[in-house]
Amino acid sequence: MKKYYRCYVCGDIHFGVKAPEVCPTCLVKNAYVEISSDEAERTSRPTQTTMTRTEFRAAIERFAEKNEFQVNADAAKVETLFDGIFANEQNHGLKYCPCRLRTKDFNEDLKLVCPCNFIIHETYKGKEDGECWCGLFIRRKK
Protein backbone atom coordinates (compact mmCIF):
# COMPACT_ATOMS: atom_id res chain seq x y z
CA MET A 1 0.00 0.00 0.00
CA LYS A 2 1.20 3.49 -0.81
CA LYS A 3 2.08 5.76 2.08
CA TYR A 4 3.42 9.25 2.68
CA TYR A 5 6.99 10.05 3.62
CA ARG A 6 8.58 13.39 4.54
CA CYS A 7 12.23 14.32 4.21
CA TYR A 8 13.33 15.41 7.65
CA VAL A 9 15.85 17.82 6.14
CA CYS A 10 13.98 19.78 3.46
CA GLY A 11 10.36 18.68 3.95
CA ASP A 12 9.84 17.06 0.53
CA ILE A 13 6.83 14.80 0.49
CA HIS A 14 6.90 11.42 -1.22
CA PHE A 15 3.90 9.19 -1.85
CA GLY A 16 4.82 5.62 -2.67
CA VAL A 17 5.23 2.05 -1.50
CA LYS A 18 8.61 2.87 -0.03
CA ALA A 19 10.68 5.90 0.82
CA PRO A 20 13.31 7.05 -1.70
CA GLU A 21 16.85 6.27 -0.60
CA VAL A 22 18.11 9.70 -1.58
CA CYS A 23 16.01 12.83 -1.37
CA PRO A 24 15.83 14.23 -4.94
CA THR A 25 15.67 17.79 -3.63
CA CYS A 26 18.38 18.03 -0.95
CA LEU A 27 20.23 14.82 -1.83
CA VAL A 28 20.41 13.65 1.78
CA LYS A 29 20.49 9.88 2.19
CA ASN A 30 17.92 7.94 4.26
CA ALA A 31 16.10 11.15 5.03
CA TYR A 32 12.50 9.99 4.68
CA VAL A 33 10.24 9.28 7.60
CA GLU A 34 6.71 7.94 7.27
CA ILE A 35 3.89 10.36 8.04
CA SER A 36 0.09 10.18 7.99
CA SER A 37 -1.92 11.26 4.94
CA ASP A 38 -3.42 13.95 7.12
CA GLU A 39 0.01 15.36 7.96
CA ALA A 40 0.99 15.15 4.30
CA GLU A 41 -2.09 17.09 3.33
CA ARG A 42 -1.51 19.72 5.98
CA THR A 43 2.16 20.17 5.14
CA SER A 44 1.53 20.52 1.42
CA ARG A 45 -1.56 22.73 1.60
CA PRO A 46 0.26 26.09 1.86
CA THR A 47 1.93 25.44 -1.50
CA GLN A 48 0.12 26.43 -4.66
CA THR A 49 -2.74 24.05 -5.27
CA THR A 50 -4.34 25.26 -8.46
CA MET A 51 -2.81 25.15 -11.88
CA THR A 52 -3.81 27.30 -14.80
CA ARG A 53 -3.99 25.90 -18.30
CA THR A 54 -0.76 27.71 -19.16
CA GLU A 55 0.98 26.13 -16.17
CA PHE A 56 -0.40 22.70 -16.97
CA ARG A 57 0.69 23.12 -20.57
CA ALA A 58 4.22 24.07 -19.45
CA ALA A 59 4.31 21.12 -17.06
CA ILE A 60 3.40 18.55 -19.69
CA GLU A 61 5.80 20.14 -22.20
CA ARG A 62 8.63 19.76 -19.67
CA PHE A 63 7.47 16.22 -18.96
CA ALA A 64 7.39 15.28 -22.65
CA GLU A 65 10.69 16.94 -23.46
CA LYS A 66 12.75 14.23 -21.80
CA ASN A 67 10.64 11.45 -23.26
CA GLU A 68 10.11 9.91 -26.67
CA PHE A 69 6.78 11.70 -27.14
CA GLN A 70 5.54 15.25 -27.54
CA VAL A 71 2.39 17.26 -27.00
CA ASN A 72 0.27 17.07 -30.15
CA ALA A 73 0.94 19.96 -32.52
CA ASP A 74 -2.79 20.11 -33.38
CA ALA A 75 -3.59 23.15 -31.24
CA ALA A 76 -7.38 22.90 -31.60
CA LYS A 77 -7.36 19.28 -30.44
CA VAL A 78 -5.18 20.12 -27.45
CA GLU A 79 -7.51 23.00 -26.50
CA THR A 80 -10.53 20.69 -26.64
CA LEU A 81 -8.76 18.17 -24.44
CA PHE A 82 -7.75 20.88 -21.97
CA ASP A 83 -11.40 21.97 -21.80
CA GLY A 84 -12.30 18.42 -20.81
CA ILE A 85 -9.42 17.92 -18.39
CA PHE A 86 -10.15 21.15 -16.54
CA ALA A 87 -13.91 20.61 -16.56
CA ASN A 88 -13.34 17.17 -15.07
CA GLU A 89 -11.06 18.59 -12.40
CA GLN A 90 -13.69 21.14 -11.48
CA ASN A 91 -16.68 18.78 -11.60
CA HIS A 92 -15.14 15.52 -10.46
CA GLY A 93 -12.08 16.49 -8.41
CA LEU A 94 -9.19 15.32 -10.57
CA LYS A 95 -7.86 15.88 -14.07
CA TYR A 96 -9.60 12.81 -15.44
CA CYS A 97 -9.07 11.78 -19.04
CA PRO A 98 -11.72 13.41 -21.25
CA CYS A 99 -11.98 10.34 -23.50
CA ARG A 100 -12.63 7.71 -20.87
CA LEU A 101 -15.16 7.47 -18.09
CA ARG A 102 -14.27 6.99 -14.44
CA THR A 103 -15.57 3.84 -12.81
CA LYS A 104 -16.09 5.44 -9.37
CA ASP A 105 -13.52 3.02 -7.90
CA PHE A 106 -11.07 5.70 -6.74
CA ASN A 107 -7.90 3.61 -7.02
CA GLU A 108 -8.87 2.35 -10.45
CA ASP A 109 -9.68 5.88 -11.56
CA LEU A 110 -6.27 7.21 -10.53
CA LYS A 111 -5.10 5.52 -13.73
CA LEU A 112 -7.24 8.01 -15.66
CA VAL A 113 -5.58 11.14 -14.32
CA CYS A 114 -3.88 13.07 -17.10
CA PRO A 115 -1.13 12.43 -18.06
CA CYS A 116 -1.84 8.75 -17.62
CA ASN A 117 0.51 5.84 -18.27
CA PHE A 118 -0.41 5.86 -21.93
CA ILE A 119 2.72 4.13 -23.19
CA ILE A 120 0.93 0.86 -22.46
CA HIS A 121 -2.12 1.84 -24.55
CA GLU A 122 -2.52 -0.21 -27.71
CA THR A 123 -2.84 3.08 -29.59
CA TYR A 124 0.75 3.91 -28.57
CA LYS A 125 2.71 0.77 -27.76
CA GLY A 126 4.90 -0.44 -30.61
CA LYS A 127 3.36 2.03 -33.06
CA GLU A 128 5.51 4.40 -35.06
CA ASP A 129 2.80 7.06 -35.11
CA GLY A 130 1.51 6.05 -31.70
CA GLU A 131 -0.55 8.37 -29.56
CA CYS A 132 -2.26 8.30 -26.20
CA TRP A 133 -5.90 7.24 -26.31
CA CYS A 134 -7.04 10.89 -26.67
CA GLY A 135 -4.23 12.05 -28.92
CA LEU A 136 -2.83 14.60 -26.46
CA PHE A 137 0.61 12.99 -26.65
CA ILE A 138 2.10 11.56 -29.80
CA ARG A 139 5.32 9.72 -30.43
CA ARG A 140 8.02 12.11 -31.59
CA LYS A 141 9.09 11.62 -35.18
CA LYS A 142 12.64 10.40 -35.52
Binding site: G84, A87, N88, H92, P98, L101, K104, H121
Partner: protein, 105 residues
Protein backbone atom coordinates in the same frame (compact mmCIF):
# COMPACT_ATOMS: atom_id res chain seq x y z
CA UNK B 1 -64.92 3.21 -38.68
CA UNK B 2 -61.44 2.71 -37.62
CA UNK B 3 -59.05 3.20 -40.43
CA UNK B 4 -55.72 1.64 -40.02
CA UNK B 5 -52.75 2.17 -42.18
CA UNK B 6 -51.33 -1.23 -42.81
CA UNK B 7 -47.80 -0.60 -43.63
CA UNK B 8 -45.09 -2.86 -42.48
CA UNK B 9 -43.46 -1.29 -39.55
CA UNK B 10 -39.85 -0.71 -40.29
CA UNK B 11 -37.62 -2.07 -37.68
CA UNK B 12 -35.31 0.57 -36.30
CA UNK B 13 -32.69 -0.87 -34.05
CA UNK B 14 -32.02 1.06 -30.90
CA UNK B 15 -28.38 1.87 -30.54
CA UNK B 16 -26.50 3.94 -28.03
CA UNK B 17 -23.53 6.18 -28.56
CA UNK B 18 -21.75 7.00 -25.33
CA UNK B 19 -19.72 10.11 -25.97
CA UNK B 20 -17.96 12.90 -24.11
CA UNK B 21 -18.26 16.58 -24.94
CA UNK B 22 -14.51 17.24 -25.03
CA UNK B 23 -13.41 13.97 -26.61
CA UNK B 24 -11.87 14.54 -30.06
CA UNK B 25 -12.68 10.99 -31.24
CA UNK B 26 -16.33 11.57 -30.43
CA UNK B 27 -16.31 14.83 -32.35
CA UNK B 28 -14.79 13.08 -35.32
CA UNK B 29 -17.48 10.37 -35.21
CA UNK B 30 -20.49 12.71 -34.96
CA UNK B 31 -20.71 13.46 -38.69
CA UNK B 32 -20.55 9.71 -39.40
CA UNK B 33 -23.40 9.12 -37.00
CA UNK B 34 -25.44 11.92 -38.59
CA UNK B 35 -24.82 10.50 -42.05
CA UNK B 36 -25.67 6.97 -41.00
CA UNK B 37 -28.96 8.07 -39.47
CA UNK B 38 -29.82 9.91 -42.66
CA UNK B 39 -28.88 7.14 -45.06
CA UNK B 40 -29.91 4.01 -43.16
CA UNK B 41 -32.70 2.91 -40.86
CA UNK B 42 -30.60 3.44 -37.82
CA UNK B 43 -31.07 5.63 -34.78
CA UNK B 44 -28.53 6.37 -32.10
CA UNK B 45 -29.32 7.61 -28.66
CA UNK B 46 -26.44 9.98 -27.96
CA UNK B 47 -25.55 9.98 -24.32
CA UNK B 48 -22.93 12.39 -23.00
CA UNK B 49 -21.12 10.88 -20.03
CA UNK B 50 -18.84 13.47 -18.41
CA UNK B 51 -21.41 16.20 -17.92
CA UNK B 52 -24.42 14.01 -17.20
CA UNK B 53 -24.16 11.63 -14.25
CA UNK B 54 -27.28 9.71 -15.24
CA UNK B 55 -25.74 8.81 -18.56
CA UNK B 56 -22.43 8.08 -16.83
CA UNK B 57 -24.13 5.70 -14.43
CA UNK B 58 -25.86 3.98 -17.31
CA UNK B 59 -22.55 3.47 -19.09
CA UNK B 60 -20.97 2.23 -15.86
CA UNK B 61 -23.83 -0.25 -15.45
CA UNK B 62 -22.78 -1.83 -18.75
CA UNK B 63 -19.12 -1.95 -17.69
CA UNK B 64 -18.91 -5.79 -17.47
CA UNK B 65 -20.07 -6.03 -21.11
CA UNK B 66 -18.36 -2.97 -22.55
CA UNK B 67 -14.96 -2.87 -20.85
CA UNK B 68 -13.61 -6.25 -21.98
CA UNK B 69 -14.18 -5.17 -25.58
CA UNK B 70 -12.56 -1.75 -25.12
CA UNK B 71 -9.18 -2.48 -23.63
CA UNK B 72 -10.63 -3.13 -20.17
CA UNK B 73 -11.93 0.41 -19.88
CA UNK B 74 -14.89 2.67 -20.41
CA UNK B 75 -13.75 4.63 -23.40
CA UNK B 76 -15.45 7.19 -25.56
CA UNK B 77 -16.90 6.96 -28.06
CA UNK B 78 -18.51 3.60 -27.38
CA UNK B 79 -21.27 2.35 -29.64
CA UNK B 80 -23.46 -0.13 -27.90
CA UNK B 81 -26.49 -2.23 -28.73
CA UNK B 82 -28.33 -3.23 -25.53
CA UNK B 83 -30.26 -5.96 -27.35
CA UNK B 84 -27.27 -7.83 -28.71
CA UNK B 85 -24.69 -6.53 -26.18
CA UNK B 86 -22.43 -5.84 -29.12
CA UNK B 87 -19.85 -3.10 -28.75
CA UNK B 88 -17.75 -0.94 -31.03
CA UNK B 89 -15.40 1.60 -29.57
CA UNK B 90 -13.14 4.35 -30.76
CA UNK B 91 -12.77 6.38 -33.90
CA UNK B 92 -13.47 4.15 -36.91
CA UNK B 93 -14.12 4.73 -40.63
CA UNK B 94 -17.72 5.35 -41.72
CA UNK B 95 -18.08 1.92 -43.33
CA UNK B 96 -17.01 0.12 -40.21
CA UNK B 97 -19.59 1.97 -38.14
CA UNK B 98 -22.22 1.28 -40.79
CA UNK B 99 -21.43 -2.44 -40.94
CA UNK B 100 -21.53 -2.67 -37.18
CA UNK B 101 -24.83 -0.78 -36.92
CA UNK B 102 -26.58 -2.76 -39.66
CA UNK B 103 -25.45 -6.02 -38.11
CA UNK B 104 -27.43 -5.21 -34.96
CA UNK B 105 -30.81 -5.06 -36.79
Amino acid sequence: MLVRAFHKEEKVSKLIMFHARECPHCRAMMPHVDRLEKEEKVKFERLEVWHDEKNADLMRSYRPVIAPKCGGQLRTPTFFCPETSDVLCGEVPYDQLKDWALKQG
